[in-house]
Amino acid sequence: MTTTVPVPRRKDTSTDGAAADQRAPAHPLAGIGGSDAGLRRFLHGLPGVDQVGLERRSATLATRSIKAASKLQALDLAISMIDLTTLEGADTPGKVRSLCAQARRPDPEHPDVPPVAAVCLYPDLVGVAAEALRGSPVAVAAVATAFPSGRSSLEVKLADTALAVREGADEIDMVIDRGAFLSGRYGAVHEEIVAVREACGAGSRRAHLKVILETGELGGYDAVRRACWLALLAGADVIKTSTGKIAPAATLPVVQVMLQAVRDWHRLTGERRGVKAAGGIRAAKDAVRHLVAVHEVAGPEWLDPALFRFGASSLLNDLLRQRRTQLSGHYVGADYIGSA
């Protein structure tokens, strides 16, 4: 059986997060339900992904040559899309404050550099970051739900989420239960995402939910596509590639599949959901290649920090160096830019 995604039946009316809370009842996909059988029927009816063709298209996208003004624009855009991340056991409040300072003003010698989108850390450090970022446009994102493995009870995961929200997190990066997904218990994965979404709060104070698929553990592009749709059906605001703890993480083909999913979600429902590429993107060149994919696969509307993010730590430094190169005509050493 094939369930193709039909052409959009609805006009593009409400695309903002504000309207997102009312979407569940009148949803065109409401009939699928949350049962294993219903989800399985839907997810396994999605069109397949041909690996050779997908990777070929990614390789072609990577040949785009972004120069001059368009490169400068891309570098600034990429900076504004970064979730500046530290997820180490050895993280300290001091390191977090240092990261927040760089997040607000990435390159103090060039005040026109935009701030990054968010800082991303473990829940216990959210309070420190919220304090350090007060009054700035930079959001606080917290990984939760027994990150990175997701191996705990739902109760613990919800408590983890609640802690982060209580401490002031604006965004929650949850991990899906890959064990459940791989064994076909789609209902359990769906239910967990729905529950974590509820734990994110309600109304205008609701924390944005990013759902980490950990694509490197899913075993193929067809599974990635199914995981994308499962997360979108369960209410993910953003689908995210990886925890950064597993390789491969964000690759161009995987991100392309995810961009196709949000594009098709929009065609179907009129809503725009986001994508976050996290892990493994360290060079400005890679980031620009991803922006090309966003531009040509999802569409120019997704070139917006609300709809596309990079989860990265060392990427920012390279973007800043490339930015200075564009302006001054020569490369500077990494140590000429402050690094948190």
Partner: protein, 477 residues
Amino acid sequence: MGTWSYAPAPESAALADLRPGYRPFIDGEFVDGNGAPLKTVNPATEETLAEVSTADASDVDRAVAAARRAYEQVWGPMPGAERAKYLFRIARIVAERARELAVLETLDNGKPIRESRDVDVPAAAAHLFHHAGWADKLGYAGFGPQPRPLGVVGAVIPWNFPLLMAAWKIAPALACGNTVVLKPAETTPLTALVLAGIAAEAGLPPGVLNVLPGAGDVGATLVGHADLDKVAFTGSTEVGKQIQARLAGTGRRLTLELGGKAASIVYDDAPLDQAVDGVTDGIFFNQGQVCCAGSRLLVQESIAEEFAELLRRRITTLRVGDPLDKNTDVGAINSRAQLDRILDLAAAGDAEGAQRWTSPCSLPERGLFFPPTVFSQVEQTMRVAREEIFGPVLAVLTFRTPDEAVSKANNTPYGLSAGVWTDKGSKALWTAQRLRAGVVWVNTFNRFDPTAPFGGYRESGFGREGGLAGLAAYLDG
């Protein structure tokens, strides 16, 4: 953020090392031809690139005589291992001068630099390397212990892949011990002449390869020459038929690689996004000026509407413009004559009631360009579904059952290539077995490899290029 547009990223035209004049290559030397000189133009600007001295009948005689001499005295008797050395050397120089050749090809032909850089030149080098490897192993290719070359080959090639088609003819012919007189297309003679220079640089003995630029009359004189042993032609079906009639009864061998009107069949269980990409590549690669282009899309009715939407969306991302810009996907149409033919057939599509959709891309103000175009509501009887347009124009038809798909795909006098898109292996094989086409691609399109035979049947010609079957075309087995 405002819109993000890609700044121009042009490859340097100076890399082509363009010279003001080019001359025929006969018996190991560049010499003045006795034909009327022609000017070759850059189709992206319609400016003259260079003046090319052309051959006349006396030059054809000289070239064929030089090739005969080289065949009998040097190249024919030479051990395969020795021939291989020259071919490997030529292949290496082509690879080393890849950028120069790519830029020159783009200037002369109008194709995007991305394609000449990533497809044409690497594929030409690969073909030369592949056949160089066969030169000393022909006894093990399955044509008997000592297969013999045919002799002197007259080769006439088209303008759509000037260097690649030259390599497709020269590499197997020379590897098998034949000598060659090559006539490149009137509008794109430059890379074949540079290739001749590369052969000279590699020390290829005089007469083994001769290149005679000129118009169709030079080609006609060449293929009719009584001292050839074989003619290899790639080009239009019309000219192919004339050549076949001319050679009938002469005993000379002939292979023809002619036109096509390939169908891409997209089943409802296809990997849709990749099918969209593949169909797009299939028709817009090289501006659709490809004999095996997937110029007919047959899409299953249940997904037709959605597929059309995704396809239009994808085509809208194609960047049409300066062929030297590294971000250009669709370049210039090779000649005014070809552009006129495309315009004429597209107008016929309108007149016959097909629905035209044109990509909303911007076109350069000058030069020979045609925007990516899709005709829907096309019927089998319409000209856009039957005639080879050889341009960036896709005709979309629908089908309900696999049987209908196959019968519509086969309802053409051509038989060069076809594409099948499905995630179901058994269905792909079922369909491929029933398609009357020399090449059937499954879940991909326009993929070429020197190990894979390429060629058609019915009005698409006969004989194969590449693989073992390609060797057979140049051996007396």
